[in-house]
């Protein structure tokens, strides 16, 4: 036996043969390892890119949750605010608070006298800063005539400077903040008159052309209204369709057509649904532009196939024995479905619905078509008001040239991703808790 082996085939020396096969084996194992490595590399690449994406968004956006404020000792000049001394709210609301702020700046930096420089000085605070003073005076008119330290929101450029996004070591012409402004800010900073605070307004304000005043509340409310319409329309429709197709429909050409149709609708590009909305809902029905009602209708149509497919899958998962048992004790076919099959399939349908809603929540393109890209400052209060939604708000801000909007955009993305994480977590919990394997 060993002799034969040693002799090898065709009289070739055994040692050489073993070497060859060893070498070949080594090559094959190396190829095996390489192949496996490619797989690992591909996965690492995909996950790495995901990491980079999330990191770049978070690192750009987390600073938007704090804001820079400038504290000034404001003298509530009665001459300026209420020259007649009537304390009439209408007069108080109408006073020129911008000048009060300018006076406060002049008292802080008495050496600044030139007109242009003074304007640059008052540009340090946001153009909406006077609202703080107005509210303060309206709330408590007795402050008039006294001096008080008031914290104003800094302008977006100062905010960016303090957060380190505007480099100080470049020539003055290459940045949006002048040397003089930097010097003033540093002086204020040294005197403890520059601070940061949690940016609550980002969550409570509507959109604005001024980055430091812009917030996401309008978009969040718009999103909520749109999602309500989407859910109310798509969920009952989808469940009814899934139940009919899965439980009652006869197998004929008509139901085959419906089925093929639904599968294809699920893959139609979302922008085509936007075109449908534009032509049908706005063009033929004359519904209002930019309204959450229309946006919700478009998203509902887009969502229908997703929920129907998920619903059918979970209806199919209910074992036939349950249906037969119910039929055997005398239930009608509708009773079988409504009393037994549907309740058992509900967790699966709900999971599919949540995933579909999460999908709709992140959708932008079809909403652009029906005019939800308008610049809207007011918080929408009804389904037919002009509104925008969070993803579209992100799109709008991403298009704005100001540096401060990059931060806002990223922060809005963080909020949007937060919502998506919550919805998907809900779906996972629902699945874990209620899913039954038969």
């Amino acid at each position: 036996m060993t002799d034969i082996a040693r002799e090898g085939h065709r009289g070739r020396p055994a040692a050489q043969h073993a070497d060859l096969s060893q070498a070949r084996l080594r090559r094959r194992y190396a190829a095996e390892r390489r192949f496996k490595l490619y797989g690992v590399l591909a996965i690492c690449l995909a996950i790495g890119v995901l990491g980079i994406l999330l990191f770049s968004v978070v690192s750009k956006g987390y600073t938007a949750f704090v804001k820079t404020e400038i504290g000034l000792d404001v003298y509530f000049d009665p001459e300026e605010i209420d020259p007649e001394g009537t304390r009439d709210p209408a007069v108080l609301a109408d006073a020129n608070y911008d000048r009060v702020i300018r006076d406060a700046f002049e008292r802080t930096f008495p050496e600044v006298s030139e007109r242009r420089e003074r304007r640059a000085l008052s540009d340090l605070v946001s153009s909406g800063a006077w609202l703080v003073l107005r509210d303060r005076v309206l709330e408590d008119p007795s402050v008039i005539g006294t001096t008080e330290r008031v914290w104003f929101r800094a302008s977006d450029d100062v905010d960016m400077l303090m957060k380190g996004y505007i480099p100080r070591d470049v020539p003055e012409t290459a940045r949006r903040v002048s040397d003089a402004q930097i010097a003033w800010i540093d002086a204020l900073d040294e005197a403890g008159q520059v601070g940061t605070r949690f940016n609550l307004d980002f969550f409570t304000a509507g959109d604005s052309r001024e980055p430091e005043l812009a917030g996401i509340w309008g978009a969040v409310v718009g999103t909520f209204l749109t999602m309500v319409v989407t859910l109310v329309l798509s969920f009952p429709l989808a469940v009814a369709t899934a139940v009919y197709l899965e439980e009652f429909a006869p197998k004929n050409r008509w139901t085959d057509l419906i089925e093929v149709n639904i599968n294809n609708l699920a893959a139609v590009p979302s922008i085509v649904f936007g075109l449908l909305g534009l032509a049908v809902f706005l063009g033929w029905f004359g519904l209002p532009r930019s309204a959450p009602l229309v946006g919700g209708m478009v998203l509902a149509l887009m969502n229908l196939p997703i929920i129907i497919i998920a619903g059918r899958a979970s209806l199919k998962a209910v074992p036939p024995s349950i249906r037969e048992a119910a039929l055997a004790v005398g239930a009608s076919r509708l009773q079988v479905v409504t009393h037994h099959v549907l309740p058992l399939a509900m967790p699966g349908i709900l999971t599919g619905t949540i995933i579909g809603m999460a999908h709709a929540l992140g959708e932008t393109a079809p909403l652009l078509m029906i005019g939800m890209v308008a610049f809207i400052v007011d918080i929408p209060s009804g389904f037919t008001d002009a509104a925008t939604v969070l993803p579209v708000q992100i799109f709008l801000w991403a298009d704005s040239p100001e540096r401060a909007f990059v931060e806002k955009t990223s922060a809005a993305i963080i909020v949007l991703l937060g919502f998506l994480v919550i919805m998907n977590a809900l779906a996972v919990i629902l699945r874990r808790r209620f899913e039954r394997r038969w």
Binding site: R28, E32, A46, I258, N263, S270
Partner: protein, 460 residues
Amino acid sequence: MQLTILATTLLLLTLIGFYLGRSRAVASAGGNRRQLHSLPGYHGVYVALWCGLPALFIVALWLVVEPHVIEALVLSGLPEGMTDVGPGQLSLLINEIRNAANGVSFFGEPNPAVVAAAERYNALHQIGFAAMGVVAAAAAIGGLAWARRRIAPNMRARNRVEKAIMAILIVLSTISVLTTIGIVLSLLFESIRFFSRVPVTEFLFGLQWSPQTAIREDQVGSSGAFGAVPLFAGTMLITLIAMCVAVPVGLLSAIYLADYASPRVRSVVKPVLEVLAGIPTVVYGFFAALTVAPFVRDAGASAGLDVASFSALAAGLVMGIMIIPYVSSLSDDVMNAVPQTLRDGSYALGATKSETIRQVVFPAALPGIVGAILLAVSRAIGETMIVVMAAGLAANLTANPLEAVTTVTVQIVTLLVGDQEFDSAKTLAAFALGLLLFCVTLILNIIALRVVRKYREKYD
């Protein structure tokens, strides 16, 4: 607001109908429920259906018909000479009246005739709504009374209710078909109007795309050329780049997950990969425009290449990342569907794992994988936000990935967002592009689904 009140009233009436029907059924059997053919609840639902459905039908009809009727009435009431203008002017006029009726006015001093028409419009609207409310309520109450009178112990309420519910189910499940018809019709109508101005052949085979139509005769650079070839070339270029990223990465991850990974690794990695599909496309667009595009530009500059700031490469790369999970999870499924016996046979012949995958599993799964890739391609072609934010706007017939190209979806968005002149060839062109997009993705999907299904049948 008024509509909400009406809806609440009708809902309340329906509820009342339900309780009245139920109690009537019990009473008609003399308190002995066993004498009833159907459970009392079915009698209740029977009455409720008779109460709610006719009223609902009336309201829906009114909502559809009312605007047209009022429009016609208001227009006929306008002074002579105001209405015999073109259809575009007429719709402007209607809009003006409607705005005035809602208390919005844009053009300084409004025309007194418009103000009068607006008042008429409001009055008619009020009257119409009141009439509709009365009729709907009457129908609800009438239906309720009629159905309630019919209740008797031997009435087959359950069968009737079930028949009605079945009809409702059938109607609802045809909505998906209606949606498709709606899409096709809306795209088709506008496209036909477009093609009556621009010949189909020019649209499909023209090499020049510049959709600005001249407002003045002597305007420069607004010839209004509608050749869609550059758009399709751009779409294909970006899709190709995306596929060059997504196919290798997605396929290799799928192979690793299907054949190498331990169940624990798989249960972690698979959901993480699927997160890539769950991220909103607008986020990818932001990432492409702000992070990847500058990176590509700088990398190109340091290599001595001139890269456009909205290069096709950046958009394609990011789109490829987005597509990865579509490729990987579908291919994972098809490779898992390859029977274990095939693998075992290959191992028994002494093949290593990678040899088995490359020479047995992969060829066996190939049709399914092709289907998955086709589905991913149709995703990439229809993807909008990434290219809107990171690809160019100017139509550019080139195969160079470092230059800026534009895509079909980008053009649809730019044509329809912002100020649009309705009825212009420019606006209608968007619908023609949409129709083309719809057809291309539909064909891709049908092929892909057929391939995948055929393949599944082979092994099931």
